[in-house]
């Protein structure tokens, strides 16, 4: 990470797209950066966290994306440059302030980074956040490489300040998580202080102000379109000399389009839109006019295509347009070169030599992500299944613990978004007779679990909420949250007690326990489910990866299977799951290099065959 700050002006360094965004922002007079972690955006915040102190900017991991956005708005409305970054679904959480901030506009440059995830590599949906740019009225930049991430991050601040509007920078997984060469410039951060000049007729959106500001937003978007017409990021590339056929593309799809056109030997002109909202309609109309047939190649939704088709109608153009709406390219999942190649071949009637299909060997053992050796969630799920005999409904949430959906635990029946376990448990409990258990992580609880809990208390819902408190935001890379014992970025951070918050919400039955103690957990779950109101168990045990990292040299109580005692019942793999335990040909063994020493398996074994190494 040090290369972010150390890379000298004029040098070329290999950076990840997310890192390149940070470097660009640090060269663009940034003062404040905020985030809530989420893949594939997490490295933006993590990089800021590492360099903020040295660079002299303010950075925070906020409680959720809405709060992160609001903190950045406070700074930008004061006149300083601010960046807020999040994954695509985070923008749903942040959309409330964003939609109206587009009306007030901004004084200091404001850049929202949204990282979309086509193919749902690590997400619950693959929504296309370019619609937010159209919906809210945000000028939009879509980089396709680390160099463009850097260039566009810088440009986005300039455009934002020139227009007085918040600007959106949208990456996807194959842009954010790609590493490539970036030529960097001089770091130049903004000031730490700026006095807010009061202007309620702009910044206080009572109805009269909002009505007036909506007109100004539209005027500013017209100005933005003029900037897009002239933008160096909206250019035509001639592939194989160019020709009368064209491609309109953006973001990661532009990369596959270039490679596909080159490899197919297509003589085409490729209009790449890096500053894609507002769409530069003069430039696009001219491109349509000067080509006979145009393919619109973009991942996910036909955002450009719909605008291109409507523009062609408005301009009375008869250029043939191909895209998703007529089935030449798919509307789901990420593209690759093969997908784009086949679309181009069909649209432009090119014969493809189809190579033989590759046959992957059948029945390869799968290797999905699993809960780690020593993971406290594993112990919790084992105990919950033992207490309920699996006769319960499980509302799950977003985090490592979602992996509990897999056997042997099968502890997830309903999951939609961050914080949803608490609200959905309330609905489930109203219409079902089975007991209902909601699982939520500590970071997710602070993010958006609290309003659901207040509702449950107030409405008299009856379910058990288990806060799986591993003291960190584990899934996205161990970022701190309001309940974490430490925040390396902010030593003065005040740690909030989850049990105090839960009691403050009005919950009467609250228990804090160590999930490594399985019998205590089983008893607590039974007792909690006997309550006639909402009950809360806080299963508290530090993430095993952090424990391993922080306690180097500490004695780990490794365990082994005593084969003389083992009855080969396989309970340790059918009721429990640990990467250190394997069971091959009825021989159960524990890999000492993986064993984290939690001792839960020793409690799981009905014959006491799992013992501590002397």
């Amino acid at each position: 990470m040090s290369r972010i700050l150390e890379a000298k002006s004029g040098s070329t360094v290999v950076l990840m797209g997310n890192e390149a965004i940070v470097r660009g922002a640090l060269e663009a007079h940034l003062s404040v950066a905020t985030t809530y972690p989420g893949t594939p955006a997490s490295e933006i915040g993590d990089t800021f966290a590492k360099v903020a102190g040295k660079a002299g900017i303010y950075f925070e991991y906020s409680t959720n994306e809405k709060v992160a956005t609001e903190v950045a708005i406070g700074a930008a409305a004061s006149g300083l440059r601010a960046m807020v970054s999040m994954k695509h679904v985070g923008v749903n959480v942040a959309s409330d302030p964003l939609m109206t901030f587009a009306y007030t506009g901004t004084r200091g440059g404001f850049v929202l980074v949204t990282a979309d995830d086509p193919s749902c590599h690590s997400s619950q949906n693959e929504q296309d956040n370019r619609f937010y740019a159209l919906f809210g009225g945000f000028p939009l930049f879509e980089p396709s490489s680390p160099q463009e991430c850097y260039d566009m991050a810088k440009k986005a601040f300039e455009v934002s300040e020139e227009l007085g509007q918040p600007v959106m920078l949208r990456t996807t997984t194959r842009v954010a998580h790609v590493r490539g060469p970036v030529r960097v410039g001089e770091i130049s951060v903004g000031p730490r202080k700026k006095e807010f000049v009061k202007e309620p007729t702009r910044f206080v959106t009572v109805p009269a102000v909002a009505k007036a500001r909506h007109l100004i937003l539209l005027e500013n978007l017209s100005k933005a379109e003029r900037l897009a017409e002239e933008s160096e990021f909206n250019t035509v590339l001639k592939v194989n000399g160019g020709g009368k056929r064209g491609i309109i593309t953006s973001s990661a799809a532009a990369n596959y389009a270039v490679d596909a056109a080159k490899d197919l030997g297509l003589r085409v002109d490729l209009l790449k839109l890096g500053f894609s909202n507002p769409m530069p309609s003069k430039k696009v109309a001219e491109f349509l006019r000067s080509h006979d047939a145009v393919v619109v190649a973009e991942e996910l939704e036909p955002v450009l295509e719909m605008q291109v088709r409507s523009l062609a109608q408005r301009e009375g153009l008869s250029t043939k347009v191909f895209g998703k709406l007529d089935g030449y390219l798919p509307r789901v999942h990420e593209f690759d070169q093969a997908v784009v190649t086949s679309g181009f071949a069909r649209a432009f009637s090119v014969q493809l030599d189809t190579p033989g299909r590759c046959e992957l060997p059948q029945d390869l053992p799968t290797r999905p992500p699993v809960l780690c050796a020593g993971c406290p969630h594993s112990a919790t799920y084992y105990a919950v299944n033992k207490a309920t005999n699996k006769k319960a409904l499980f509302a799950s949430d977003i985090g490592c613990y979602t992996l509990g959906v897999a056997p042997p635990y099968s502890c997830a029946d309903l999951l939609v978004c961050m914080g949803s376990s608490v609200g959905t448990a309330g609905g489930l409990s109203k219409v079902n007779d089975l007991p209902v258990i909601a699982f939520i992580g500590d970071s997710t609880f602070f993010h958006s679990g609290i309003p659901g809990l207040i509702n449950a208390v107030h409405q008299g819902h009856r379910f058990l909420l288990m806060v799986l408190d591993n003291r960190t935001t584990a899934m996205t890379g161990h970022q701190p949250h309001p309940g974490s014992p430490r925040d390396p970025n902010n030593p003065a951070a005040i740690m909030l007690s989850i049990e105090d918050v839960v009691r403050g919400c009005g919950v009467k039955w609250v228990k804090v326990l160590d999930p490594y103690d399985t019998s205590a957990t089983v008893e607590a779950v039974k007792e909690a489910l006997a309550q006639d109101s909402v009950s809360v168990i806080i299963a508290r045990r530090e993430c095993a990866l952090i424990a391993k990292r922080d306690e180097k040299g500490a004695i780990i109580r490794k365990h082994f299977v005593d084969q003389e005692v083992c009855k080969k019942c396989r309970t340790c793999v059918t009721k429990f799951q640990c990467p250190a335990i394997s069971s091959i040909d009825k021989l159960q063994t524990i890999d000492p290099s993986l064993c984290a020493g939690c001792g839960v398996c020793a409690q799981v074994c009905p014959y006491k065959a799992i013992k501590e190494v002397e």
């Binding site: 690590s122 490539g180 590759c358 992957l360 390869l364 999905p368 780690c372 091959i584």
Partner: protein
């Protein structure tokens, strides 16, 4: 243009291996693009990285077009079979990390011979490297990723000088450098078999 398709299991240092290759390419004056696919974090799942050296825009390696498959784990080598063609060099660690599905769903982990046979039927050359053993011999058992980067350098399949790779190892592995350089050198020797 050389496409390297790297596979392994979360925690094996595959992303570091990709970064070393990326830096070596830059040191050699080449363009390079690296990508990583690791799904829900590094919780023991399959991890894929790509390193595309040369003038490419897209980071992903299409099926049947990898120039090199560099694998840190035996089963993952087999899972990468669809990226191989008659021009592919396969450099595979013989290390076995048995996934839970073998225990819980009674799936069968393939033998080293089966993996070698299948890959040989698809690729130009297959070199099996005892990366874990060589790393231990070098005094840093966790450095099998560096051994395999060495094997890539030694194979000559990336079209980049071994010295550039060594410089890149130094830039990316700050700790236990001597042991890692030894691991790299042992890998270089092992990789030379691909030229035979």
């Amino acid at each position: 243009m050389v496409d390297v398709y790297l596979v392994g299991v979360g925690g094996q240092g595959i992303i570091t291996a990709a970064r070393i290759i990326g830096d070596a390419a830059i040191l050699a004056g080449e363009k390079v693009l690296l990508s990583e696919t690791h799904g829900m974090a590094q919780r023991g799942g399959s991890v894929i990285c790509t390193a595309r050296i040369g003038d490419r825009a897209g980071p992903l390696v299409p099926d049947m077009s990898a120039d090199v498959i560099l694998s840190l784990e035996l089963l993952e080598t087999l899972r990468a079979a669809c990226k191989a063609s008659k021009d592919t060099v396969v450099l595979s660690s013989t290390e076995r990390l048995v996934p839970l599905s073998v225990s819980t769903q009674k799936m069968r982990y393939p033998s080293q011979q089966e993996v070698a046979d299948k890959m040989s039927s698809l690729a130009k050359a297959v070199v099996m490297v005892d990366a874990a053993g060589l790393a231990a011999q070098a005094g840093s058992p966790i450095s099998s990723n560096v051994v395999m980067v060495g094997a890539l350098a030694g194979s000559g399949a990336a079209g980049i000088d071994t010295d550039r790779f060594e410089e890149a190892v130094k830039a990316n592995i700050p700790r236990r450098l001597d042991e890692n350089l030894k691991a790299f050198a042992l890998g270089v020797e092992a990789g030379k078999a691909a030229k035979a």
